[in-house]
């Protein structure tokens, strides 16, 4: 393992991070944020300190360790991404800790990890009282993490020569299932980030046009297109109680859950490619079905008018399915079967190559196909059946990868569940917290439901969930590799 080269890359990323930290610094200056009662520093100095420490560390790593990225092997790709995410989150957590927004470091790290992994699980209890700079940084982290900070650096600094497809594969949600759009990696990264920027600007403008304040519009946009789910308001989107905002945000959550290669095709005018995409079709069908069931269920259970039930159902289903985690309603209070339905669609998630977390629609399609293929083989034992998605046959390797990953997702859900329950957390909370973090959703049920937060969990439980969020975002293998001795062999 080429450790020195790895830290060299991490150095570059830290320099990038320190540049990015100037943005919330400016926001803090602009709003002249006051210091918090428990804080050691004012938000401005906190951001400045984080910015400097990250920049200096990055510069040292970059300057004094040899670069050797050209010779990256697959495993080093995974290790770089894993290590980079752990370290970047550390520096990202500093502002929360230094300002006293999270007096415990574990809380600060939890919040930052929840940000970068676009989970949206929060341990903050009184969000409205926090300084603007902190709130802005929380949402900016989600925006960065959604498309991936390494992919951002590939897009901005193609010349720095950290252009390795291994890194790309290890960071983008959907991993090996995502196709390269352009022959050159830097081009692909650029296209992805450009599309992301266009969507972001469009949403900001639409929200602003509807009368939302600029600060709120920007913050919500960041966490919408990243399918993150942080909101600068305690009541999340329910704060506004505005149909127009809900519709716009819902639309952009939906777009955030789509493969960004499809957006690019839409912009290029290749509509046919988009509508024939099997994953996209599955994604749309799933959302439409779940919204229909939930609307009827809510109307029946609460005696709500169909129209109002539809509004609640549509927003919350889209939010959960794309793993955003915004809420306009406390779905913890819905009938049992709807709650289970919500948890199940959480576990499916959006499309590969989108910013959504979770298992991803394409993998669910592949699993279904495997089962169906097995049934076909029973009827025609000698037939040679190839598993196809759309028109393309899948390589067997790929199928095994999906299977192994689904096994890991289920297994880790179980482990997290039992570990939390062991620490004395009640069952509903333990199970849903494990799922909500591993699948990068955010709010769960019970004590961590949409109306509550994660602050009540025991400290060890928070560390487990931090690990779960990271594993979920990087699709497990990358992080698992860090713990295997064979990865570290020369």
């Amino acid at each position: 393992m080429n450790l020195k080269a790895i830290f060299n890359v991490v150095g570059i990323l830290l320099i990038l991070l320190s540049g990015i930290l100037l943005v919330p610094l400016a926001v803090s200056l602009f709003y002249a944020d006051p210091a918090l009662p428990l804080g050691h520093r004012t938000p401005v100095t906190a951001f400045l300190d984080s910015c400097i420490s990250s920049g200096v560390t990055g510069f040292l790593l970059w300057k004094f360790l040899p670069s050797g990225i050209e010779k990256l092997r697959e495993r080093e790709g995974f290790v770089i991404v894993g290590v980079a995410w752990i370290i970047i989150t550390f520096f990202g957590a500093l502002p929360f800790y230094l300002t006293g927004a999270c007096p415990e470091f574990v809380d600060a790290y939890f919040e930052a990890m929840s940000g970068f992994t676009t989970t949206g699980a929060s341990i903050l209890t009184n969000i409205d009282a926090l300084p603007h700079g902190i709130l802005f940084w929380r949402n900016l982290m989600q925006w960065l993490g959604g498309m991936g900070i390494i992919i951002l650096s590939l897009a901005i600094f193609p010349a720095l020569g950290i252009g390795s497809f291994q890194l790309f594969k290890a960071e983008i949600p959907g991993g090996a299932t995502v196709e390269r759009m352009k022959p050159r990696l830097a081009e692909t990264a650029k296209v992805l980030w450009k599309t992301y920027l266009v969507l972001t600007l469009a949403e900001i403008i639409l929200l602003k046009a509807g009368g939302m304040g600029l600060f709120d519009a920007v913050c919500h946009t960041f966490s919408t297109v990243a399918t993150g789910g942080f909101s600068p308001h305690q009541a999340s989107i329910g704060h506004f109680n505005n149909l127009y905002f809900e519709t716009i945000i819902m639309l952009f959550m939906f777009l955030g859950g789509m493969n960004f290669a499809l957006h690019y095709n839409l912009i290029l005018g290749n509509f046919k490619v988009v509508f024939q995409n099997p994953e996209f079709r599955f994604y749309v069908t799933m959302i439409v079905t779940a919204v229909a069931v939930t609307t009827l269920g809510l109307a029946y259970a609460t005696g709500d008018s169909l129209e109002h039930a539809f509004r609640r159902a549509a927003f919350n289903v889209v939010s959960i399915n794309t793993t955003t985690g915004y809420a306009t309603d406390d779905f913890h209070l819905w009938p049992d079967y709807l709650r289970i339905l919500m948890v199940s669609i959480m576990m499916v998630g959006g499309c590969s190559g989108s910013t959504s977390g979770s298992f991803k629609a394409i993998r669910v399609i592949i699993l279904f196909k495997v089962i169906f293929c097995e049934l076909q083989k029973l009827i025609h034992p000698r037939a040679v059946v190839r598993i196809k998605v759309g028109q393309k046959p899948l390589p067997p390797n790929y199928v095994m990868n999906v299977v192994a990953l689904s096994g890991l997702f289920l297994g880790l859900t179980g482990v997290g569940f039992i570990a939390l329950a062991f620490m004395g957390v009640d069952l509903t909370t333990a199970l849903s917290a494990s799922i909500a973090c591993l699948f990068n959703i955010g709010p769960g049920l019970g004590q961590v439901g949409p109306a509550a937060d994660y602050s009540q969990l025991p400290q060890a439980g928070k560390w487990i969930l931090v690990l779960w969020m990271l594993m979920g975002r990087l699709e497990i293998f990358g992080i698992l590799l860090l713990f295997l001795p064979m990865t570290w062999k020369k």
């Binding site: 049992d336 097995e374 329950a421």
Partner: protein, 490 residues
């Protein structure tokens, strides 16, 4: 689909059932208990059922053409599915005719629960049930454990329904079970012989330990088939004897082992047995969970003596791991995280080729290996690695089988859970009822825990659970094929 030939085979099986029904008829004549008002007496009910099964069977056998030689794989599955739906139907008649279960749904539920060796009961007042019925109840488990088709193959090899497809479709573990003898009939004979020998040994040991002959037989039937019906409402706790509990525990464990291994033991091939990877995994897992449970219980109940807790832990873990479902303690009252672990145990099940239900250890091993292999491939992308269990390569067919069965267990379990909560059951009851029936264990938690029974489930829920039990016992494919149009094409 050669439906006529399929029914010809089922005719054979029904005639066999008619003869078997003479045994409980004899038991009921011996005890000669009075009939309840408005219903048939016990021996009349058994006589009538035997007559009906015999007549129907004879009709099928005589009037439908024979054509078993030309059976294709799919017909094998359909025969197994139909016979497992029809035989419990006749098996349910005695419950219905004697008034033990006035509702036919309940009678069929009890009968399916028997044949599938689940052990879930709807009978609330076991003490009032006549003895012939109790005997029949346990005996259905014994028949279902090794499989009635296999029994037929063993008794009447000459009648020529010897198709390997039937064998594979009926034996727990499906394709993962190896053929022991070149000739199928020999395999069936060896399996049933071993089964009968083990049964005789256990019955003798229980009888010597002070059980009445009736109790000894009933409990032997339910132990070796890993079924779990007992003539007593408080189950094995009824016998406050360490000796009896230990005998039952040992035989539950033995019933969870591949019967081919028992045969090898009898023949003296010890090495074969002790090097079997599945047996090693199963033993290790049983020991590990006994220690874990005992430790946890002694932590939760410090005032109870350690040896009693160890006994409870050992008995419960073995009972649930083998999916038997006998109880010596109401585990519904144990600490919740421990209950979750127990649910996980039910999912794993024991070895393939045993009488236990569930996913089976071998499939779990294969899944673990697949995950390990994926990780190795990340580190050495170019390496060609074969998936091995023990020293044997696992064929891709077996790999997909392991994946498909596990995925189906998860998906069907989830769906049935949602549907049950939709019918208004609480989440704990609904979830554990699904687990207990789909994995053929028997008692669940909540309302259907060891102290309760399944009579609280609404009628549509019972039909759903009946389907779950059948799918679990036959490992899905037979039952699923019934719903696939392709299977019905000529």
């Amino acid at each position: 689909m050669n439906l006529k030939e399929v029914f010809n085979v089922i005719g054979h099986l029904l005639i066999l059932l008619a003869f078997i029904l003479l045994i409980p008829l004899g038991v009921s004549l011996y005890y000669h208990q009075p009939a309840s008002a408005g219903y048939l007496g016990e021996y009349q009910a058994f006589g009538l059922t035997a007559l009906l099964a015999g007549a129907t069977g004879f009709g099928f056998w005589k009037f439908f053409p024979q054509g078993i030689e030309s059976l294709r794989e799919r017909e094998g599955f359909i025969i197994v599915a139909f016979s497992w739906i029809l035989l419990p139907l006749f098996g349910a008649l005695p419950y219905s005719l004697t008034g033990v279960c006035p509702e036919f749904t309940d009678a069929y539920f009890e009968s399916v629960s028997g044949f599938t060796t689940t052990g879930a009961t709807v009978l609330t007042h076991l003490a009032d049930v006549p003895r012939g019925i109790l005997f029949w109840r346990s005996m259905t488990q014994w028949l279902g454990g090794m499989g009635i088709i296999l029994l037929y193959l063993a008794i009447f090899p000459a009648l020529g329904i010897g198709s390997f497809h039937l064998f594979r479709a009926e034996i727990p573990g499906g394709v993962t079970v190896e053929r022991m003898q070149p000739q199928l009939v020999h395999s069936a004979k060896v399996l049933w012989k071993t089964y009968v020998i083990l049964s005789l040994v256990e019955a003798a040991l229980l009888w010597l330990g002070g059980m009445t002959l009736f109790d000894a037989l009933c409990h032997t039937f339910a132990t070796l088939s890993t079924g779990g019906f007992s003539p007593y409402i408080n189950n094995i706790d009824h016998f406050q004897s360490l000796y009896l509990q230990m005998v039952i525990l040992v035989f539950m464990f033995l019933a969870g082992i591949n019967f081919a291994l028992h045969f090898n033991l009898i023949r003296g091939y010890f090495q074969d047995v002790f090097q079997n990877p599945e047996l090693r995994f199963y033993t290790a897992s049983v020991l590990f969970f006994i220690l874990l449970t005992a430790g946890w219980l002694s932590h939760a109940y410090p005032d109870q003596p350690a040896d009693i807790l160890l006994r409870k832990a050992a008995f419960t873990v073995v009972s649930l791991h083998t999916t038997t479902g006998f109880t010596v303690d109401d585990f519904n009252l144990w600490p919740t995280p421990l209950k979750v672990i127990l649910l996980g145990l039910m999912m794993m099940g024991a070895c393939s080729g045993s009488t236990s239900g569930s996913i089976k250890s071998i499939r779990i091993i294969i899944l673990f290996r697949m995950i390990g292999l994926e990780i190795k491939k990340l580190i050495h992308p170019q390496a060609v690695i074969h998936l091995k269990v023990g020293h044997k390569n696992v064929s891709p067919g077996h790999q997909t089988n392991a994946v498909t069965v596990t995925a189906l267990f998860t998906a069907v379990g989830g769906l049935s859970f949602v549907l049950l909560t939709f019918m208004g059951l609480d989440a704990e009851t609904a979830g554990s009822a699904t687990f207990a029936t789909l994995f053929n264990t028997g008692p669940g938690m909540g309302l259907v825990g060891p102290a309760g029974d399944f009579s609280v489930i609404p009628a549509p829920g019972k039909w759903l659970l009946i389907l779950d039990m059948l799918m679990g016992r036959l490992e899905f494919f037979s039952i699923l094929l019934l719903f696939v149009p392709v299977a019905w094409r000529k």
